[in-house]
Symmetry: C2
Subunit: 318 residues, 2 copies
């Protein structure tokens, strides 16, 4: 964060300026989420990657803001889809202003993101980010169809989080070498860094939902459980469970056993089967791949920061 | 339609090809709306405007498909926002597959629209359509904030329909001269045609909601009334009403008087005050402006078709 503080001020200026509208509800609702404790993880990646490449300009400020707008639009729609009530320790926008407002302000931010990219004027950047957006939406729909489906396997899970989460991390990283006019190799390396970091990040998030005694980032603990989301801890615990445990998971994921006692049993099972520990090990493995993708870059503050970002992403589960 | 039949086949091919996804729910849900009796009004405008300019290529097929995707995404989200159950005489997607699926498939189509535009590669087209998308979303949010607000006036109403409906009509028309590399004057003329046609179209739609004995396009009659939408028939009838009528409108728009009897009284009031007739007259007036915007173009089949489109848009209220 310290490394890119000055650039982040530039990004924040773009964000604040471009979320304005004569329709007062738009900045009000968007501001609740954007100003409200977000980590700016994705724009920070764009900035840190640009720093890594010694890019001296400011073009990436608009693009980093666009990435954050896409992310915010996704969060607004996610909370509607999941009927969530808490995010980042605050009441969700859909709870305060209702689902219709969240859907429509999300659409606005998404459109505004494209306007920002078009203003930048790079067709290559537009290609990367419009494709990422389609992949994200596709992943969100796939997640929806997998919800409450106990038969969902690890491959499909990885496919879903690769799309819904890692695609935007990858795109956020890849736009930096594009504006810095770096080589294709560098583009691919940073895309790989972002992709693997994104998977590690989501795996960790999904572990946190069952690690009730750890930092929970303000999300309600057990949300995934009650929503019947087939995350890796569940997939592994189900695969390894006794007949009785498997019946429990079938009923729980089906939505018929979601009391606090059921959640406590689920937490106990994901621990005792080693599912949670292995999900964390997977996250660390993807984190290692992310760091390996940076191998060709010489030592620099930016490289250290990108390495620390991986550590931050995977250590949240403790 | 006959004029652009061959081009429309090209557009339909793009639409069918690009709404596909390995996630089966996406083409299933999107196809329900896209294949299901839509008039393809907006892509037809792109095609007819290109025909008017003698454009010989096929670049506009992708762009017309993108316009239809943006429109379809908007419809999916609109039906979620309004909790609608019927559209084009069929059950709505949100009723069949639920709100979450409609929100997310809408997001996918919206992203896919941008991918299509990026593939075309014209930054000018991207600027026009990304701006139109932001304006549409802004208009939708403004409409939401005006809902159940009896104080909403004619100016704000025109602002809302100019944004939520006419902006996409205008953009659909304007992209044609851009791909045909016509002059700025021609761009502005066709944009003006589309904008005014769009306003005429929406005014007529809003009249139809109170003209229960006329063609209703498969929408539920009285939907706007029950949703507390401040459309022009209500705005005029309220302004011209007696004290008792005004109290009725206040309660009805507030959501406290929305029975079938109340709807019958509303229909009677919008007729007796002349509100409906004047809203139709307004629609005709905007239709005339649309036709006037075509004045500089020489006589051609395309010009006749664009003129007939105006007649079609405003005559639906009878």
């Amino acid at each position: 964060m310290a490394l890119v503080a000055r650039d982040m001020n530039g990004v924040n200026s773009v964000i604040l300026e471009r979320m304005q509208s004569k329709v007062a509800l738009i900045p009000e609702l968007a501001g609740h989420l954007i100003a409200g404790g977000g980590k700016r993880m994705r724009p920070m990646l764009t900035l840190a990657c640009a720093n890594l490449l010694g890019y001296p300009g400011t073009r990436h400020h608009k693009l980093a803001a666009a990435v954050e707008f896409i992310h915010t639009a996704t969060l607004l729609h996610d909370d509607v889809v999941d009927g969530s009530g808490m995010r980042r320790g605050k009441r969700t926008a859909n709870l305060i202003w209702g689902n219709p407002a969240s859907v429509l302000v999300g659409d606005f931010l998404f459109s505004r993101a494209f306007e920002l990219m078009v203003e930048d004027g790079s067709l290559k950047v537009l290609r990367i980010l419009s494709h990422a957006s389609a992949v994200i939406a596709e992943g969100e729909v796939e997640q929806l169809t997998a919800q409450r489906q106990i038969g969902t396997g690890e491959e499909q899970y990885l496919d879903i989080i690769g799309a819904k989460t890692a695609a935007l991390f990858a795109a956020a990283c890849r736009v930096a070498p594009v504006v810095a006019e770096a080589s294709e190799d560098i583009e691919l390396a940073l895309e790989s860094y972002g992709k693997n970091l994104g998977i590690a990040f989501q795996l960790t998030d999904d572990v946190i939902d069952y690690a009730s005694d750890s930092a929970t980032m303000g999300k309600g603990v057990g949300d995934d459980f009650r929503d019947g989301k087939m995350t890796l801890p569940v997939i592994l615990a189900y695969a390894r469970g006794t007949a009785a445990d498997r019946r429990f998971w079938e009923e729980a994921i089906g939505g018929d056993r979601i009391s606090d006692d059921d959640l406590a049993r689920a937490v106990s099972l994901v621990r005792s089967t080693g599912a949670l520990a292995d999900a964390i090990a997977h996250a660390r493995q993807y984190g290692r791949r992310a760091i390996d993708a940076l191998a060709a870059f010489p030592v620099s503050k930016a490289k250290s920061a990108l390495t620390e970002a991986v550590e931050f992403a995977v250590s949240r589960a403790y």
